[in-house]
């Protein structure tokens, strides 16, 4: 009788075994996700409510003992579109947690989810009423005269308008992927152009810009996104850490927030269609907004593959201000890669926190 061996090398058998185990894990985790999905615990960094004005809320993060820098940081995110949970996804993957760990007295302005009763809210009111009040509250709470203003996405142009109108309390300004020159605004500039998009008709019909339409617009930016997201999920389904991150991110990605009607009308007309901000033609609260009045240190962070705010669109701020201390920083990735994910934690957050820390002395 001759000896018979299975025609597989030891190495091949080992790989086959590992793959089989991975697939079994994928299957069991997949079942768990479908039949007993866990609610992801987003926004776990300790915070306290400082002030509330209509739907907008000001939060202060961290504990007094951990604060090492003299100047507070106020983060202004986008109004509408999505919720600010992306900034504090889960422990170990949170921009806010990083900033608190770096010793910053960190504040976040959550614009809130606006309803039909807020359809009269305008960009004017946000920049000349809500923002000044929130800044005042930050200064009062932290007992300082100045702060660092950090704008992300649409929060950056709103913050820039504020800094141009009220330069006194703004010691430093950071623009993270915030559109400034809308002539170079990519997809949205083409789609929202006056010749194609009748914003008056839309706002007059719905009263607001409904969350569902915003979702559609953003999904159109990258129609294959869902496919690649779920293909990656299936591939990494065996990895608990990946699944935790996916759940948190997915929760955020599916929470769309509407725009108040008048805000959207003004936003599309003045910013996208007429590009008034960079042309120095914008007027808010009866006062002209001139970006050149910004003289404080400025950091602009752009992402190479950003479809929402292409790098050249946010970089324009560096050319428009009068600051002598200004820096532009660009890295690979998309709009969200700047604020969430491993790449952001490794490349962006330390850069931003170090830049602010070096300029956080009062006086």
């Amino acid at each position: 009788m001759t000896d018979w061996t299975f025609p597989l090398s030891a190495e091949l058998a080992k790989t086959l075994q590992a793959e089989t185990i991975k697939n079994l894990q994928r299957f069991s985790k997949g079942m768990e996700l479908v039949y007993s999905p866990k609610e992801p615990g987003v926004g776990q960094t300790p915070k306290e409510l400082i002030h509330k004005k209509n739907k907008s809320t000001l939060y202060r993060y961290g504990n007094a003992a951990d604060r090492r820098h003299a100047l507070p940081v106020l983060m202004v995110p986008n109004l509408g579109i999505s919720r600010p949970t992306i900034f504090d996804l889960y422990p170990g993957s949170s921009f806010i947690e990083h900033m608190v760990q770096q010793g910053f007295d960190f504040y976040l302005l959550d614009w809130g989810v606006f309803g039909d009763e807020d359809n009269g809210l305008t960009v004017d009111e946000c920049v000349t009423h809500i923002l000044p009040r929130m800044v005042q509250k930050v200064l009062r709470t932290s007992r300082t005269r100045e702060l660092t203003l950090l704008g992300y996405c649409m929060g950056a142009p709103l913050g820039a308008c504020y800094a141009a109108l009220y330069p006194e309390p703004v010691k430093n300004f950071v623009n993270m992927a915030g559109p400034i020159d809308y002539q170079r605004g990519g997809f949205f500039t083409t789609w929202l152009a006056k010749r194609h998009f009748d914003v008056d008709k839309l706002v007059d019909t719905f009263g607001s810009m409904p969350a569902e339409m915003i979702r559609m617009g953003f999904k159109l930016l990258k129609p294959t996104m869902e496919l690649s997201t779920f293909s990656n999920l299936w591939w990494n389904l065996w990895d608990d850490k990946y699944v935790t991150g996916f759940l948190a991110m997915n929760k955020w990605a599916n929470e769309y927030a509407p725009f108040p009607g008048e805000f959207f009308r003004q936003w599309v007309k003045d910013f996208y269609q007429e590009n008034k901000l960079i042309k120095n033609e914008l007027t808010l609260g009866g006062r002209p907004v001139r970006l050149a009045t910004i003289r404080c240190p400025l950091l602009v962070v752009g992402a190479k593959q950003d479809y929402i705010c292409p790098p050249e669109c946010c970089r324009a701020l560096a050319d428009a201000v009068s600051s002598s201390d200004k820096e532009y920083f660009e890295l690979p990735g998309g709009h969200i890669s700047l604020i969430a994910g491993r790449g952001a934690a490794r490349n962006v957050w330390p850069k931003v926190s170090t830049w602010i820390a070096q300029r956080s002395q009062e006086g």
Partner: protein, 221 residues
């Protein structure tokens, strides 16, 4: 109607739709300004075929076939994404989207208006508040809240200016020191006055004692 008849109908309907689709494609390809559809999709299909060829060249299926399949999926999705991205960046796409939105609003607008007025009428009959009334009420609450916030802001400003005019701790300490010193001096002054009063009263007594015998001696002389 028999099952056979219904199947026949379905078949003819399907055939008709196929014919219409073919006709549409024929029309599309006969128009000179329309780009060559095959040219348009060739990069994507080419990439897919190249990938499969590469995979097959690597030999028989191995446990890594899943990884290869994933890579193929990712590359295909990326290729699709680039193609769609290019198509959506165009003015033509934006114009088509604008037209679609316009038609959608033309349809939805009157329906919404009609529904709104009939709903309002129904709610009025039922003696119930309409959505608009609730929204208006909420707007009033927001406006009241804003006024309260303004008042709070004013209060804070008044408090700040008062606090700015109040003496500092150092000033109060200096003042307290001055008061203590004044108190001390007053006490010394009081002691001196008391001493002086004592001296005067003693002097008075002495004067009184010196003057008394003379007064008594006068009547006897």
């Amino acid at each position: 109607m028999s099952t056979e008849q219904s199947n026949q109908d379905l078949m003819s309907m399907w055939k008709r739709s196929m014919d219409q689709a073919m006709e549409a494609w024929r029309n599309l390809s006969s128009q000179p300004q329309v780009p060559d559809a095959f040219q348009f999709w060739r990069p994507f299909f080419g990439q897919g075929t190249d990938l499969w060829t590469q995979m097959l060249k690597q030999g028989a299926a191995s446990p890594d076939v899943l990884a290869q399949w994933k890579r193929f999926m990712d590359d295909s999705i990326e290729a699709w994404s680039k193609i769609l991205g290019k198509a959506m960046e165009t003015e033509g796409f934006a114009a088509a989207m604008g037209r679609f939105l316009d038609q959608y609003l033309n349809t939805v607008g009157p329906i919404r208006k009609g529904l709104q007025s009939s709903n309002e009428e129904f709610l009025r009959t039922m003696n119930l508040p309409s959505r608009k009334q609730v929204t208006d009420l909420a707007s009033q609450v927001i406006s009241l809240e804003a006024r309260l916030d303004d008042l709070e802001e004013q209060g804070e400003k008044i408090g700040d200016s008062l606090a700015a005019n109040l003496p500092t701790r150092k000033q109060v300490t200096e003042l307290a020191g001055q008061v203590v010193s004044l108190d001390e001096r007053l006490r010394m002054l009081q002691k001196r006055v008391e001493d002086l009063v004592g001296s005067i009263s003693r002097l008075e007594n002495a004067v009184r004692q010196m003057g008394a015998p003379k007064a008594t001696a006068a009547p006897s002389g």
